[in-house]
Symmetry: D3
Subunit: 156 residues, 6 copies
């Protein structure tokens, strides 16, 4: 029976081929999730820059400051990871070899966007968070153009 199984696996893959290009079998791709996560990274970066350590030595002020600072960093971290994950899903699952002909810089664009996600974790840097946002917009535009639709990049 094993021989038969192996043989038929070798001969009959055609019924599965329709899914072979796609990781998420649902076929629902939408850069909106990427944009929402990147907006959160930018918002947290701004909030962290605006956060001032207490000028006094009061313990409760310091505890409140540290609690808030820790949480803001954790959210920035988590949302930057999410942004990167969503960008990479589009790259590895949605985009296919045919898209590279129209967008020869696709790999490089994705790579830089992913590296910006990491940079936004490492630093508290407004310029990098805004550059990430502009890369997310660029990927949004490539995505919708590749589907023959246009879609405004509306932020929440």
């Amino acid at each position: 029976m094993l021989t038969k199984l192996v043989n038929s696996l070798l001969n009959k893959k055609s019924t599965l081929e329709v899914h072979a290009h796609c990781d998420g079998p649902c076929g629902v791709y939408d850069p909106a999730s990427t944009r929402v996560a990147a907006e959160a990274v930018l918002a947290m970066t701004k909030k962290l820059i605006a956060l001032n350590p207490p000028s006094s030595t009061d313990s409760a002020d310091w505890a409140a400051y540290s609690n808030t600072f820790s949480r803001f960093v954790a959210v920035k971290e988590e949302q930057a990871k999410e942004t990167k994950k969503e960008i990479l899903i589009l790259w590895t699952d949605y985009f296919k070899p045919v898209h590279l002909e129209t967008y020869p810089d696709l790999h490089e664009t994705i790579w830089k966007a992913a590296k910006l996600c990491s940079a936004c974790k490492v630093n508290i840097d407004l310029a990098q968070a805004e550059e990430l946002m502009s890369y997310v917009e660029k990927i949004h535009n490539i995505f919708w153009e590749s589907k023959g639709r246009s879609d405004a990049f509306v932020k929440s």
Copy 2:
């Protein structure tokens, strides 16, 4: 020092109050994530209904069918969980007591939408998946109206 700390915690919470209504300190709420997940539930439900067991007794056909069926169920499960999670974030973190005056059915609407997420996991049921979609649209409309904006419910 402890006494001082407790006292100052009791007396000085005002600096933190701006965040007290909000779980996600980023302040970025957007029902787009809910909609993307619900679309995936609907897509997987349709794909599962369209999936036919092999008419032959060929082992490799059955292995391919079972692999695909298992994966489709798992994605439906995961995306229904995600839809529920996103709906509940809006409910517990974005909506505040003042919204209940304008939307007295808010609790009930959210509860039914959450229960539909569970139903879409338990069953493979086109009618329930579409009802979930219409609840997600209803929540989308309440959300944007509550912000004084309107936003078309565009599916990807």
Copy 3:
């Protein structure tokens, strides 16, 4: 075959209906998990209030303090999330429309408890952590009463 499948899905759901009200098909609900998580939130809040920054400027003292502070905040965060998750599982999966007749304030009670979980993350606030504990006890009592059993609220 598709037509047949759709027809039978429409006509034959009765065999699945027994599960339709329930997200976790195991049928094992127990507010003990909620209580354990809420106890941890309360414990961490107390430990954070008791934690004093070093009075000296010694670097190792500061490193030890910051390591402990970061970890305590992270556990408080995680356990508050867990408490919220468990409360919402009871609400969306265990409680059914019939319970609303006996407990008309159920939605409001759950909503406030969930919002207290968020507040315990945002602040280091003994009063809020204790109020969360009392909400968890209230839900514990509703739960066991709805099952026609009583169960003492014993803390570990």
Copy 4:
């Protein structure tokens, strides 16, 4: 400054020692979570044994059966993992060398319980699920006895 930091780390660990025995700094241990998860494993095993494949060849019946079977296996899997995780938290974080004097079989008991969790994932086996339950009760008894309390093993 580095030299000073290293020196003080080497000389001053005493302020941290109170936590050194404990992974979860909250200090809240309770075998109730273990018991709830093990009950779910037992419940799912029973439900899987009671689940009959359709006697007809009707496609929708098979889809419903497969959806339910997949979900039940996934819950059994997840809850067996959770049971194992909770048992190992007690072992690595709560129990300390002094407990080994009173309970010389502790390591062996924990090991067998953990291996039963794995067995309950691999098989659909009522005897193994019930043996796991009895091991969880044994650990529950050791735990409460070690704290000088007794606590009935009440199932939900």
Copy 5:
């Protein structure tokens, strides 16, 4: 104070630059984790091909077969995800622009390897699992060569 903070952020990033190229601040990269995960994908694919549905109509045989099949697919899925995640960590965090000069096909190699991970989830296909393994070996060789070391590709 905000102005001062922004100014100093703009002027003083040099102290952070050493980390700016790196997502995982630990600096420990090792393709061994990728290899272990890919080996598991290959092993599960072989086990799934070798798994025969019962020839009888015995219910318990079918339950055992389905339990094992479901678990094998789930492990294949999880390990393929892990392989992809590890490959992408190397690409987005370890590799830097300078590596592209020596390895101009790096983007394309990573992209194909990531797409093979997805294909191994979608199908039960020995040839694809083995091709993934050879891509993982190729990435292993590029990685160690880029560090000026050589390391045999030993499988466990």
Copy 6:
């Protein structure tokens, strides 16, 4: 049919027994993952010790320091958890009763290694991180010896 199912489950487990000793059905065990995680714990401990708070009161310096400190602690935490998880997978899934005859201290060795993982989370302590590393090497050696192979303990 239920009776038949139960009977056949009781009588026919032999077809499943080959998996009964194993949690991860892939059969791929490799202490390399444990070693990579432990190396990261050691690296982060060293980086945390080397990290100095700013000597000035400049806000941006403090923000940069706190962001980096928080992230380093989080990575140390996560990798110590991962090290523990991997050690416990080997213990509960790979090692079998027969190994206890050759390695009578196995339980104790694993227990101490797991407790060291916890200690490395609680403290920033070079000696403990290095002791964990030596325990991981000891487990590496037991593992490969038990398979009748030897394998150098090469760090990345």
